[in-house]
Subunit: 116 residues, 2 copies
DNA sequence: TCTTTAAATCAAAATAAATTGATTTAATCC
DNA sequence: GGATTAAATCAATTTATTTTGATTTAAAGA
């Protein structure tokens, strides 16, 4: 019979925070928070429109979208020459408090169990 | 007669994300996440002990504690020469999802309405 | 008072992230 | 095919953050 090894020593220093670091880094910028906010308000938006909405040069926007995409906080769908970005509500809800989720959620849409 | 400029354009860009930026910046670092995790496990810890727990030079730890403190994610109490730091559970819960809060919460203590 | 210890601060160096403007890739339309 | 448009990428610069080791501040004890 095998004795269980106590699940105690230094388990804490094993905890892997790298995914959280990546996601919080993506959130740690007002420009990117605004992009997320706009995607919440407008739903699915193509880069060519987003450029005007957030008033940002295209290459700069592209850079910030990539950071959000790599963090899995937004999703991308390409249709021909256009790329449409959307908020990844599941991931945002997984990460942020209901209170905070509401900032990234239209008040009309209460369906996804985030807002109180 | 002066024509009014329509108050339409860019109302959304008025939303102030600066406090969130500060807090997410504080969270956007594995070392600081580990510090928060240790404070969750150990409750109130003085810097002199934390140095060994997170295995970090004192000045470096002091730097990271300040960032967490400025973001209101931890609190500090000085007793004589010692400084004791604690997690600010209210603020952490306000910001992070119940799921994530659990990472910064001892499983014994279910009192604060965070874990499911 | 002098010494010791804890913790914060400082300035310099190292590292990382953001911005810029130009270029590339690739899909669409004529 | 050639021109046009959308979006990503690139390299160079700028800006911000982190690390380091030394110094400072200040409380406690002999």
């Amino acid at each position: 019979m095998i004795k269980e090894i106590p699940f105690v020593l230094n388990v804490e220093s094993q905890v892997d925070f790298s995914k959280f670091e990546l996601q919080f880094k993506a959130l740690a910028d007002q420009k990117r928070l605004q992009i997320m906010y706009e995607l919440t308000q407008k739903g699915s938006v193509c880069v060519c429109d987003l450029v005007d909405i957030v008033n940002m040069p295209q290459s700069k926007l592209s850079y910030h979208l990539k950071i959000l995409l790599d963090a899995n906080l937004i999703t991308k769908e390409t249709k021909g020459t256009w790329s449409y970005y959307e908020l990844n509500h599941e991931e945002v809800n997984r990460l942020l408090s209901p209170e905070l989720c509401c900032i990234f959620r239209k008040s009309e849409n209460q369906s996804s169990g985030c807002c109180p």
